[in-house]
Subunit: 263 residues, 2 copies
């Protein structure tokens, strides 16, 4: 937490579309603060008018969810460190879903109006924000396919693939060994299954030698086989951001954007 929170946003956006020093300076001028929230707390709820801030997740796991009139909960997105929490509220003034912390989380909140102005007035930042938002849209579409058109075992395998992939891209874990800080009930609510069935399917994946579990940590025995079982094609996640050689030319000369301890 010693890092200035705005750096996290700048790094994230720069990964989508290279920013220049002025862009980064503009971002650094945005007023911001860090907050923490315990597991199961809500950052906003459906129909809320959002406050005057916009935020990204700095650590922990959170998810977007909605509850039906019959009381069933559907989790419609899982957020990890670096993800935008409420980009919608930059431009829409009603929340259409609930945002719940899965673990203890830390969040960087920054002035919604100031950030909005930066996005609208600095094309490079705007492009980065657009890519960010559109890539989340692509994930929604893939989730619709998973939930609407894939059998249970494929759903679970696909979800594990996506989570591993995203954690790896975010620099938080290896896709072949990562922790899923979700209960099986929450996984069930992601996938439109019951906790009981998720449990059985996970056990069968273990029995088939695709993964092994230690508590909530997952070891992928064969990434190749798991992607086949999950019909996983990461194209919808966008290009993997690891083009360091290419990106290096565009990075500002300051060390501002580099993750600490990295080259």
């Amino acid at each position: 937490m010693t890092e200035h929170p705005m750096k996290a946003i700048a790094r994230r956006l720069d990964a989508r579309n290279p920013l220049d020093d002025d862009d980064v300076a503009a971002l650094n001028n945005v007023r911001c603060a860090i907050t923490t929230h315990p597991p199961e707390s809500f950052l906003f709820r459906e129909a809320d008018r959002p406050g005057d801030y916009c935020s990204i997740l700095l650590s922990g796991l959170a998810f977007r969810q909605k509850v039906t009139a019959h009381g069933k909960r559907q989790i419609v997105a899982v957020l990890m460190a670096g993800d935008f929490i409420d980009a919608q509220h930059l431009f829409l003034d009603r929340a259409d879903h609930n945002l719940e912390a899965a673990t203890a989380i830390t969040v960087a909140e920054f002035s919604r109006h100031q950030f909005r102005d930066v996005i609208l007035n600095r094309p490079r930042v705007g492009v980065a924000a657009w890519k960010e938002a559109l890539e989340e849209g692509a994930i929604f579409r893939e989730w619709l396919v998973t939930v609407g058109a894939r059998p249970g075992p494929v759903r679970v395998a696909h979800f594990l693939c996506e989570l591993g992939c995203r954690l790896e891209r975010a620099g938080l874990a290896s896709r072949e060994d990562f922790i899923v800080p979700l209960t099986q009930e929450q996984i069930a609510d992601v996938l439109g299954l019951t906790p009981v069935h998720v449990n059985r399917v996970l056990k069968s994946l273990v029995a088939d030698g695709l993964i092994s579990q230690r508590g909530r940590s997952i070891q992928v025995s064969s990434w190749e086989r798991l992607t086949v079982a999950g019909e996983f094609n990461p194209i919808y996640l966008g290009p993997s951001a690891r083009h360091d050689a290419h990106r290096a030319q565009h990075l500002p000369t300051s060390t501002l954007l580099r993750p600490r301890g990295q080259m």
Copy 2:
């Protein structure tokens, strides 16, 4: 088709966020053309690099779909006149899904790079485009709830409510009497059900007196009861654009944006 196609975009965006005359003029400078496409034709396919155009639907119905490795098709969005077809491709360079015409459609195609510049350099247009994109995201989330957490009969009723609502908002029909130009098989692929089951559910909705059918046209007997059956709450569709009194103050003095024959 006598209308200049760029007017359709300007009208659509103005409904999201009021534009001024300069904004409209900038939009009118964007190079564009009208194309038509027969039913079942594809405008783009997954993994395609999009061409140098961006388009909106002028007439007809289209949908976004993906096909799983096991050959099941999931329809992830339904587009009607006025909707953006490929806003994603303004900023992402790979299609993550297929875009298929459900009926014969007409499309306005305009220069992607020019339109992108207008969005990035004219904040009012940018805000409108952002709202547009974010509202589609809200629809994705609601669809995830429908497909993942609602029983078949509720899914069908919810889908009919959304379609009626959106058609009415687009000025294309009344929400209590509209045409669904989709086969039951396509509806099934929207809802993650089988055509056979969709058929049975539709029949039961008719038997229960919620709707009646004449061919593919739907008459809603009781909108109230249908929304209850479908657990339908239109909050996710955003504010209904029919604030004519309010919007009038913001409209440019030119008649450019007014739908012909109105007011």
